[in-house]
């Protein structure tokens, strides 16, 4: 069984939910990324999403764009991300999130082979809609990699059904029509949309985009299987760098932040 399927099967059996922190690989450098991945394991995060820096990320807001720019400015290469993952143990199962531009350039089969060898359990390719994903899906199946599909608030029910047919691992539900980034308010119809999606599939549903606060975790968690937190973490790295904090201090800050979200996830009141 793929580690992602195993994870959600175990969580479901225990009546628990997942926290999926997102990191931009190599921001500000790869040893720091490896260190945070180990910290995520230490505090009990369930799965982690590793963003591959890309020069033209059209689905990302300013926070993640800046992180990608910082990493690429230091000459980060795709191969180095794969090498880093091997050294980041123990860590939660990892999913690579990246543009299809990067996969296409390496070639689908070579890329999936490398990603699997490096230890990735799944792929999220936000600019590869379900109808363009056949070839990548086959390559992922051959190596027991999950290919996670995204569903947006603008997705019709009919389309959602077709996307679910193409999905494995979990469904990534995008909370708001827009780019990644923190938001103080999430749309009110989100619970209803998740309810409708729940009727369509047994796959785990994780919600991302805009999530940064324990109160949001409390509100969303009854309607889904896990939450993805990205920009709120990346922003802590950016602020730590700007204030010339040591890597230890930045890791401790993010650890406290994720710890708070994990408590909220378990239904504990926010400290």
């Amino acid at each position: 069984m793929n580690p992602i399927e195993q994870l959600f099967a175990d969580l479901r059996a225990a009546g628990r939910k997942a926290l999926l922190p997102f990191l931009a690989a190599g921001d500000p450098d790869l040893p720091f990324t490896a260190r945070l991945l180990r910290e995520f394991h230490a505090i009990g995060c369930h799965l982690c999403e590793l963003g591959f820096p890309y020069s033209d990320p059209i689905a990302d807001g300013p926070t993640i764009q800046s992180a990608f720019t910082r990493a690429l400015a230091r000459g980060l290469r795709v191969e180095e991300i794969f090498q880093m993952l091997a050294t980041a143990v123990p860590r939660p199962p990892a999913v690579a999130m990246l543009s299809y531009a990067i996969i296409h350039r390496q070639g689908i089969d070579p890329f999936v082979a490398q990603a699997a060898a490096a230890g990735f359990a799944g792929l999220i390719v936000p600019d590869l809609p379900a109808e363009e994903s056949c070839e990548l899906r086959r390559a992922c199946q051959a190596r027991q990699m999950a290919l996670i599909q995204l569903i947006a608030p603008t997705t019709s029910l009919d389309r959602a059904k077709r996307i679910i047919d193409a999905a494995s691992g979990f469904i990534y539900y995008i909370s708001v029509a827009g780019v990644t980034g923190q938001r103080s308010e999430l749309p009110p119809e989100i619970a209803e949309n998740l309810g409708r999606l729940r009727q369509l599939t047994d796959l785990p549903i994780c919600v991302g985009f805009g999530i940064s606060e324990p109160a949001q975790v409390h509100a969303l968690i009854p309607h889904c299987d896990g939450l993805i937190v990205g920009s709120a973490i990346v922003r802590r790295i950016e602020q730590g760098l700007a204030r010339q904090r040591t890597p230890e201090e930045i890791v401790a800050d993010i650890s406290r932040f994720c710890g708070g979200l994990l408590q909220a996830l378990e239904g504990k009141p926010t400290p």
Binding site: D56, A59, D60, R77, A101, I102, P126, D127, P129, A177
Partner: protein, 406 residues
């Protein structure tokens, strides 16, 4: 003269297919958030294209607002100067707003109204598409935001002023290389959050399906008129048609009606910039390879990891690391030949056209002129060359003065 069979040429002209593909090129590589809007646009455009009233309204606006048909002009002194084939200009510079871009924006603004959307966004490089979008939006009373790279805001000030005067908001983009590619990224990001109420008027034959087809179709009036005018003036078609290629909208509009005319050679000219090394030019078809950028598969300039490369051209409108997918397809099947021309050659062609013809061509267009002049010199006087004179060059005057001092 192409050696491709006429049935193959007809098949090529019937593309894109239902998946938005020109051979392996094109498609839709965009976030799920945009997919419903792209499908809606595809449906509405297909319905509009069959709608007599929509077509009549477009024809009326092309005549009364844009000033079509644009003339086919014999560049007699430039022809004598080159000493070979006749050089003719298709005068898109004489359109309202001074370039071919308005052909597309008027059409897409009509589509915006038809779809009931209340706001328009656009990207612009040289500013010609920004001005043409601001113009169409002012004409129809639609609020308009134009994204423009900060570097392009600097080198194309006259166009920035025009956009603002017509009520558009110009947002300078400070990310990345601060040029056209970053302006497209920013417009896409805006659209991700505004897609329910906003139409994105993409300015070239790039991006996800159905944009490459829609923009090509609205620009094809250039090639259709040219064919009609050539038949009327000469009772035959030209031997060679030349157009500059950045994203490739004027070239696509000029070439498309000629694709099925096997006797006509088609030549696209990319920006050769300052040299052949990655980063010195913007010649995606000449030096790039198939890859994904801005929602479609096409020739792109990337590094070995798939990161988009930095590009250079003196002309803001050609300063782009990709190209429309249909051009990639025409290159693959051998129907169109693509070459490139350096900054210096383009600047020289600008001067020669200005001084021999009393026409200031856009720096983008000057690339096509340079290659057309070279071709004219090596061909016989019985041959006829048509250059798509895609835009006028007043916007470039200050930048050209600056470049000459360097």
């Amino acid at each position: 003269m192409t050696t491709i069979s006429s049935s193959d040429l007809l098949a090529a002209a019937a593309l894109p297919d239902a998946a938005g593909r020109f051979g392996i090129f094109g498609g839709r590589y965009v976030p799920e958030t945009l997919m419903e809007a792209l499908q809606e646009l595809e449906r509405e455009y297909a319905a509009a294209a069959q709608d007599e009233r929509f077509r009549a309204e477009l024809t009326r606006l092309q005549r009364d607002f844009i000033g079509r048909p644009s003339p086919l002009y014999f560049a007699e002194r430039l022809t004598k100067f080159c000493g070979g084939a006749e050089i003719w200009f298709k005068r898109e510079d004489l359109n309202h707003t001074g370039a071919h871009k308005i052909n597309n924006t008027i059409g897409q603004a009509l589509l915006t109204l038809r779809m009931g959307k209340s706001r328009v966004i656009a990207e612009t490089g040289a500013g010609q598409h920004g001005v043409a979008t601001a113009t169409a939006c002012a004409h129809f009373g639609i609020p308009c935001v134009v994204y423009m790279g900060a570097e392009d805001v600097r080198r194309q000030q006259p166009n920035v002023r025009s956009m603002k005067l017509m009520g558009a908001e110009v947002r300078a983009v400070e990310t990345g290389s601060r040029t056209l590619r970053d302006a497209i990224n920013e417009a896409m990001r805006d659209w991700m959050g505004s897609v329910r109420t906003t139409h994105y008027i993409l300015g070239s034959v790039v991006g996800p399906h159905p944009f490459p087809k829609i923009v090509r179709d609205f620009q094809s009036v250039i090639g259709r008129e040219t064919i009609e005018q050539c038949r009327e003036r000469w009772q035959r078609l030209p031997d060679l048609v030349v157009a500059c290629v950045g994203g490739g909208s004027n070239a696509a509009g000029m070439f498309y009606p000629f694709v099925t005319e096997p006797t006509v050679e088609l030549l696209g000219v990319e920006a050769g910039g300052m040299g052949n090394q990655l980063g010195q030019h913007a010649s995606s078809l000449t030096f790039g390879r198939p890859g994904v950028l801005h929602g479609s598969m096409s020739y792109v300039l990337q590094d070995a990891d798939g990161q988009t490369a930095d590009v250079h051209s003196a002309s803001a409108g050609l300063d782009y690391p990709g190209v429309g997918p249909e051009h990639s397809y025409w290159k693959e099947i051998g129907r169109v030949v693509y070459t490139n021309c350096s900054d210096a050659e383009a600047l020289a062609a600008f001067d020669q056209t200005a001084q021999h013809e009393g026409i200031l061509p856009a720096l983008e267009t000057s690339h096509a002129l340079a290659i057309a002049m070279r071709e004219a010199a090596r061909r016989g006087q019985d041959q006829k060359i048509v250059v798509c004179l895609s835009g006028r060059g007043e916007k470039d005057a200050a930048e050209i003065e600056r470049l000459k001092k360097l």
